[in-house]
């Protein structure tokens, strides 16, 4: 079956512009996660969606970051007024539910802010 897909695969933007990153989770997976992977660093948790519950936004690094999810499907991560330190790979994962189920990762969006 289809895995987690993300788009775009690469994004180059100028400092100060807004960007939108998209994630399509595995069909039937109620839990969705966003992580950030900076060069030479491990993955940092950003945000978690589970069904219709309020999302856990505790990992978002600043108010320039926001994310939405439509029901139990597509999610978008928005970064406003991008900064050079936002350059990273943004990874999305989904799982059957949030209770320690295996997380399946997408290939990521590589964001470069010039």
């Amino acid at each position: 079956g289809a895995g987690v897909s993300q788009s775009p695969s690469n994004k180059v933007t100028e400092k100060g512009k807004d960007v939108e990153l998209r994630c399509d989770p595995i069909s039937g997976h109620t839990a969705l996660y966003w992580y950030r992977q900076r060069l030479g660093q491990g993955l940092e948790f950003l945000i978690y969606f589970q069904g219709n519950s309020a999302p856990d936004k505790s990992g978002l690094p600043s108010d320039r970051f926001s994310a939405e999810r439509t029901g139990e499907s597509v999610s978008t991560l928005t970064i406003q007024r991008t900064q050079q330190e936002d350059s990273a790979v943004y990874l999305c994962a989904s799982s059957l539910d949030g209770s320690k189920e295996t997380q399946y990762f997408g290939p990521g969006t590589r964001l470069l802010v010039l």
Partner: protein, 111 residues
């Protein structure tokens, strides 16, 4: 805040050699996971270990979990170019969906 330290940071070996990489935690693991991430891809789960002293094998990969559940090792026998990638350890905190990751070991296996 839990810190996961992985060593070595980089490892380059010849095909056929054996290697071991390590993951150490500043606190007891809830549930330790090992992932492999290939260039341009997301991490893929290799194994989950929960019980102290546990040993799991996955073909040429052997995973050991320390008795005190604060450290783990991944041993690869007769490495192949297909083993090339970033090996990450992670902990899923007790009752949590959040994964805490180490920085990884970048392995290159030269044919």
């Amino acid at each position: 805040t839990q810190l996961l330290e992985q060593s070595p940071q980089f490892l380059s070996i010849q095909e056929g050699e054996n290697l071991t990489v390590y993951c150490n935690s500043s606190s007891v693991f809830s549930s330790l996971q090992w992932y492999r991430q290939e260039p341009g891809e997301g991490p893929v789960l290799l194994v989950t270990v929960v019980t102290g002293g546990e040993v799991k094998k996955l073909k040429r990969l052997t995973f050991q979990f320390g008795d005190a559940r604060k450290d783990s090792s991944l041993h690869i026998t007769a490495a192949q170019p297909g083993d090339t990638g970033l090996y990450l350890c992670a902990d899923s905190g007790a009752g949590s969906y959040q994964l805490t990751f180490g920085k990884g070991t970048k392995l290159s296996v030269i044919p």
